[in-house]
Amino acid sequence: MGVKMVGASVRRMEDPRLLRGEAAFVDDIRLPGVLHMAVLRSPHAHARLLSVDVRAARELPGVVDAFSAADLGAEPPGIPFFYNPASFRPAPQYPLATDTVRYVGEGVAVVVAESRHLAEDALELIEVDYEPLEAVVDAYAAIQPGAPVLHENAPDNVAATMVYESGDVEAAFAGADRVISKRLDMQRYTGIPMETRGVVGHRDAVTAEMTIWASTQWPHTMRTVLAGMLAVPARSIRVITPDIGGGFGIKADFYPEDFLVPFAAGRVGRPVKWIEDRNEHFLTIAHSREQIHEVEIALRDDGTILGLRARHITDCGAYQRPLGLVNASLAATSLAGIYRVPALRVEAVCASTNKAPASAYRGAGAPEATFARERLLDIVARELGMDRAELRRKNLLTPEEMPYDTGLVSLEAAVILDSGSFPAAFEQALDMADYAGFAARQQAAREEGRLIGMGICVYHQLTGTGPFEGGSVRVDPTGEVTINSGAAPQGQGTATMLAQIAADELQVPHDTIKVVFGDTGRLAHGMGTYASRNAVMAGTAVVMASTKVREKALALAAHLVEADPSDMVLEDGYAHVKGVPTTRVSWAEIAAAATPGGNRPEGMEPDLESVQYFENMAAPYSYGIHIAEVEVDPDTGVTTVGRYVVVNDAGTIVNPRNAEGQIAGGVAQGLGGALMEELVYGPDGQPQSTSFLDYLIPGSLDVPDVEIGHLETKSPLNPLGVKGMGEGGAIGGHSAVANAVADAIEHLGCTVTRTPLKPATVWELMRSTGAAPAGAGTTA
């Protein structure tokens, strides 16, 4: 049946513009008469805001406007939440601080000027009176009695406590041969895309519509939130996503500047632009990952898991923005992984601290939970004197147990593992990595004084979340096909993927299809790109819309050649009568017939376009096995990652090269989290990681080549059988590398319980056991 593009490893349609320097990222948008915004930010982690005086700033030549929270109206709008568990005590962020600042970097006032330089000059003229307050920066300390209080409605600094439970936990622990418990901590780190955030807003004088270009992952959500906050109808706002230079979740948020730019543009009647600089990015971007896990596992002596009991404390920072509590929830419902855990109870505590607000970053709770579980399993294996692969093998769910209902509900959706071949994937990965031969190699290395380790991580990931995504497919009277999608990708190659999907339905060359993303003026409803949902949600919407277009096109073609629609087939850009390829009509002829006034069958509506919404709350789960091999320098604590093996199962793969790129890129981020990345705060709440000099991300010398094996267990939840997979690399990468470092050094008598495993940390761990030569490493 013609050409099949789903599954083809084709080059990306996105690339030529990007390669030529012709792309349009938000900072590349140049509007005549544009003004530039700069934000005055709090230098204090916690302080009462006594007064803000912007008058002198307003007087500076070149400054057009300056304002503070007092100018936002009597009741300034707060940024809304999308997830409100019953125990939630909301502390919304306002676009500018009103009476208290609660983290370094929180916006206090704004200047709008003829250039960014002038706007920043003017910031220095703003007079602010602060009364410093005591800050609390550690989540554990924050929830102890007597800690400084961030928000009056939560005197214990607990924004919410969610409890997730399935099975009989008390009985599981009472009947266990062994109970092992550990505290395992993941540090604060986050996406750090190479393109910072940015917003451009412009109110059109003729239509009075505000057009906003933003480096965002959810344009439709941004429109809706903004309409609410500005108290205008949604139809008067159009949000357009230009090219986006990476996001990884942190651009699926609503930030103060997303309001301030349009608000300022409305005040001054000229276009306003704000491009975040790298320093602002480190101070204010959604931080993530920081969780303390106290985990207990109940086992039989043979390694069978009977239950898990855990409490984790998520450091949510100073305010909760739209998805602020999501990491806590998903960490709880991801904790059991793809293992058979008959009883589970997790208490998820969301703590407020004087740090930047935290939210979802690639994996959103799964990397945190995976680290807690996979690190714990290694510790358990060592305590039981059992092989760590055997321990995992024993507890993995089997295909016969699919679909597997965990009995948990997260973010309004039941947590049901839809499909998978976990044991097969596991064995494949062990084979690829030569796990069986590793113990001997490790022993030989140790005899030479070298420390090598192998780390295993088994993870799964919630993907393709609901409630819906939209997509339209239209064919112009010239025969050209355009897809409009509610997705807003940031480098995933989604245009090529959606074109491949539509090409299968329409049988036109995929690279002739134009794909337009994230424009609220082109599609009424959309959700955006996050939660690995492009293939599942945007892809299915395009399947639905292109199927409708194909059916209508066949009916039109049949009408034109006077045949029966069921006798028509699409091939090579034409519709022809089956077996009679010469009796054919082109897409242009078909689409021309569809135009109003054209030659259509009786009763058929004009035009050749279909707008479809895929509505679905049942999310597919993908999974993978990562195995990392590392070498730790005994003198310096420096870790080098050598071989790296991934077996990935995300159902049908639409474009293998894109999928492999997602895995390789995700692994690099996970590795960064395991070994180097950390957003450090001093005890006074002063951020210490505010540039690429003190926040290291992996470079080309740090990241290994990733060897990838695929399994394709199709999801029953959508017509393509796809599962999302963009986040998996970051989930597996962190724990595989951390477990490998642990495997390299734990025979010395230390235990790895937190990341990042920076050289100094590893060296300290080894020295604590007397293994590292004293004095070595201090100059490294």
Binding site: R11, R12, E14, D15, P16, L18, L19, R20, G21, E22, A23, A24, F25, D27, D28, R30, P32, G33, V34, P61, G62, E114, S115, H117, L118, D121, P193, M194, E195, D243, G245, G246, I275, D277, R278, Q490, G491, Q492, G493, R657, N658, E660, G661, A664, G665, G666, A668, Q669, S691, F692, L693, I697, P698, G699, S700, L701, V703, D705, V706, G729
Partner: protein, 170 residues
């Protein structure tokens, strides 16, 4: 915009200077505030927005351009320092419709995802391969180590550079 900015610059006593530079073979003369960075000059005064700003601190390499043939960080130089010099930016790599072999290799071997870092990698690769034939993978990784990419994990970029080494006739 230029005019507005000159006027306001005068108000606050910011000095300006007229400079002449050749970019991708074309000569430009512009009057710029002395504090304007070279990358801002390329992007805002000349409209060459292919050079990107990832950090303004000389670390990420997204702003890499060639100054008289040598790779530099355009965020660390003032525009006035480039007076009289020749620059090559990403916009100058392709010849018309035809991609440069390095660009073609990045396309063929999935050397980019979001593409924000890409112009910097292309120019770094250009400088590296110009001198070097038959580069090994460690040499390539070393050559790229001054540029940051957050999307690809570098795997596709390394493959692309290997391929360009074969296809670029130089």
């Amino acid at each position: 915009m230029d005019v507005d900015e000159r006027t306001t610059a005068d108000h606050v006593g910011l000095r300006e200077k007229t400079i002449t530079v050749t970019v991708n073979g074309d000569s430009y003369q512009r009057t710029v505030p002395v504090r304007r960075s070279l990358v801002d000059f390329l992007r805002e005064d000349l409209g060459l927005t292919g050079s990107h700003v990832g950090c303004e601190q000389g670390v990420c390499g997204a702003c890499t351009v060639l100054l008289d043939g040598e790779p530099i960080r355009a965020c660390l130089m003032f525009a006035v320092q480039a007076d009289g010099n020749e620059l090559t930016t990403v916009e100058g790599l392709a010849s018309g419709e035809e991609l440069h072999p390095i660009q073609q290799a990045f396309w063929d071997h999935h050397g980019l995802q979001c593409g924000f870092c890409t112009p910097g990698f292309l120019l770094t690769t250009y400088d590296f391969l110009r001198e070097k034939h038959g580069a090994t993978e460690p040499e390539i990784r070393e050559a790229l180590s001054g540029n940051l990419c957050r999307c690809t994990g570098y795997q596709g970029i390394v493959r692309s550079v290997q391929a360009a080494d074969e296809t670029w006739e130089r």
